[in-house]
């Protein structure tokens, strides 16, 4: 397998970045995923992190080095993420469950498979054409479809989802695949921070005209600009299939990997917050000491001559 990948996540004007993204791969299979933790419920960033960790942990368990049934894996791993959230909320005795959207894509053999729940999207661009895009599980997209059949009076808020992970009802998971890929196909996963302020046409245009290493940062910048000072978190992960070697994005060739190798940008421990000690490395120690001394300088300067309490 050969692909390039490029990912960017920005906080925008929000207090926290509750989006999470990442990818992992074996010699013959790759998983790309993105989750958008939901505001209005507790610990959105925990929700998105847990969903991704669950996907990655099950991918590592099942891809040896290929997934026997990618569609089934996607469905089951997303549902497992949902159950992790419920368990997390129960263990922590939270009144409300943390919630998240998720979109995940498996590239294996020469095919792509994907699944999503909520309004994080996948775009597949071939040449200058948008070949596929997920349909959001939001009332507004539902309405556009239904409007052909039944007229509905008022417009729904696009932010209102009728399903997500962590909700009391069973999540709706849509799975698609296999779709046979061609050399140079681009797949883009994004949170609503991108598509909420950048049109599908623009996303397609950027992906078809530029390398993903240029297109992704440009799209994210556009989204932040359009979103203004209160912009949502914007997270984009793009993959180019069988990309040419000179790509400046992170080109990955899995040919040389052994059967047992598993590489991941997603922390593998399931059950975040339950105390996996993360060790400090040398750089981290140096950085902490530097930061503390900077803080000392700052606060002693501020305290200067006009000390008042």
């Amino acid at each position: 397998m050969r692909f390039s990948v490029y990912q960017v996540s920005r906080r925008g004007g929000r207090e926290k970045n509750e989006d999470r993204m990442g990818y992992c791969y074996t010699r013959d299979s790759g998983l790309f995923a993105l989750a958008d933790g939901m505001g209005g419920h507790p610990e959105g960033e925990v929700a998105s992190q847990l969903a991704l960790q669950t996907l990655a942990a099950l991918f590592q368990r099942d891809a040896k080095p290929v997934l026997k049934d990618p569609m089934r894996y996607l469905h089951d791993a997303i549902m497992a993420g949902h159950h992790q959230l419920i368990r997390y909320a129960t263990e922590k005795a939270l009144i409300d469950t943390p919630r998240t959207t998720v979109v995940a894509c498996v590239l294996q053999g020469s095919a792509a498979y994907w699944a999503h729940c909520g309004d994080s999207r996948l775009y597949l661009v071939r040449g200058d054409k948008l070949v596929a895009r997920t349909r959001d599980h939001s009332y507004s997209e539902l309405q556009e479809t239904l409007a052909q059949v039944v007229p509905i009076g008022e417009r729904f808020n696009r932010n209102v989802l009728f399903t997500c992970l962590g909700s009391p009802g069973k999540p709706v998971v849509d799975t698609v695949g296999p779709l046979i890929l061609q050399e140079g196909d681009r797949l883009l996963l994004c949170s609503d921070g991108l598509w909420g302020s950048v049109s599908d046409e623009e996303i397609t245009a950027q992906l078809s005209q530029r390398t993903i290493a240029d297109a992704v940062p440009e799209l994210v910048e556009q989204a932040l600009r359009n979103g203004g000072p209160k912009s949502d978190n914007v997270t984009v992960l793009a993959v180019e299939w069988e990309s040419s070697e000179d790509e400046s994005a992170r080109g990955i060739s899995t040919e040389s990997l052994g059967e047992e190798v598993f590489a991941s940008t997603i922390q593998a421990s399931v059950g975040a917050g339950s105390g996996e000690p993360d060790e400090l490395d040398e750089a981290e120690i140096e950085r902490s000491i530097r930061e503390i001394n900077e803080a000392i300088q700052r606060s002693s300067r501020n305290a200067g001559p006009n000390k008042k309490s």
Binding site: E279, I289, N293, N302, A303, S309
Partner: protein, 322 residues
């Protein structure tokens, strides 16, 4: 057999340009030394040296940590950094200040103001042993906590909680200033066995939510501890711990012993701070400060006949002396 404690640095050792004069104290997390900087000013030097994880023979400088204890050692280091980070952001006369932070001997050191004086705990013990009807005068208690609350307010403004406020962590300097000490316990803390318990609590001063895993901690948690400190300043002893109170709450009863000695208002404020339900306490330091600073005429209410009777019965039962 228990493992020997790691040896402190010998007097005269120079670390990071500071010369050690003597060891002041040692705790689970490390050792505090009295030291002198290059201008011969006195400072307190705190060395990260968790007794359960590190070893050091007398005369050696660099502690040894067994490989299997490395992860915990590093984790503890993180908490040590946390304390440094917290204190570094604050510059307030009622909060101990950090002057420098550095790495040497393969461990880390925090340089702090050296304070001369005694802890509130020492004062309470001394005052209580005089066996007068009051431990401290009411005006002393009010002005002392006014000062402490100013410091605590700044701590909370920096989105931090102290979480181990108790008389032993309140320092009264020889020039009569109250200073909050020891933010090390604020987060994860090492137990003797080297396991992490979080957060550590002191019975009597820890709010009920500190005992519950995942209890929601907030400014109200520190406020409970403040209430318990005021209680200790009036009574001379710490209050019952929260689990005991949940089982059978005698707080009202023991506070009623103080009626007519301290004003109704001070007793009520104490009871308010120490409500078992976090939502029933003052929700911010500011709210509490306002109440404590209220200089209205102090009212004292004597115990009624039935109240005295109840108290006497209770005393007979518990064998306490009124």
């Amino acid at each position: 057999m228990s493992k020997p404690k790691p040896a402190p640095l010998p007097a005269g050792t120079v670390v990071g340009g500071y010369q050690v004069i003597k060891k002041l104290a040692s705790g689970g997390f490390g050792v505090v030394y009295l030291a002198e900087d290059s201008d011969r000013r006195l400072i307190a030097l705190k060395e990260y040296l968790p007794a359960s994880l590190a070893e050091r023979s007398p005369g050696e400088l660099t502690p040894r940590v067994k490989p299997e204890k490395q992860p915990l050692y590093r984790l503890g280091l993180k908490s040590f950094f946390e304390e440094g980070r917290s204190l570094a952001q604050i510059s307030h006369p009622s909060v101990v200040s950090v002057l420098n932070f550095f790495r040497e001997n393969e461990t880390v050191y925090m340089v702090m103001n050296y304070l001369q004086g005694d802890t509130l705990q020492d004062f309470i013990v001394t005052a209580r042993d005089l066996k007068r009807d009051k431990v401290f005068r009411e005006s002393t208690i009010r002005s002392l906590f006014d000062e402490i609350l100013r410091g605590l307010r700044i701590v909370h403004q920096h989105k931090m909680l102290h979480l181990d406020i108790k008389p032993a962590n309140i320092f009264i300097t020889n020039d009569n200033k109250a200073v909050l000490l020891d933010f090390g316990a604020a987060r994860e803390v090492l137990s003797k066995e080297g396991n992490f318990i979080r957060p550590m609590y002191t019975p009597g001063f820890a709010a009920p939510e500190m005992y519950r895993r995942d209890g929601t901690l907030g400014p109200w948690t520190d406020i409970y501890a403040i209430g318990a400190c005021i209680y200790a300043c009036m009574q001379g002893y710490p209050p019952n711990d929260a689990p005991q109170r949940i089982d059978k709450d005698r707080l009202g009863l023991s506070l009623s012993r103080l009626r007519n000695v301290y004003s109704d208002n001070l007793i009520e404020v104490t009871e308010w701070c120490m409500s078992l339900d976090p939502l029933s306490r003052p929700q911010s330091v500011f709210a509490l400060q306002k109440e404590l600073a209220r200089e209205t005429e102090r009212r004292y209410t004597k115990l009624s006949f039935s109240e005295r009777l109840k108290l006497q019965l209770e005393n007979i039962k518990t064998g306490a002396k009124a």
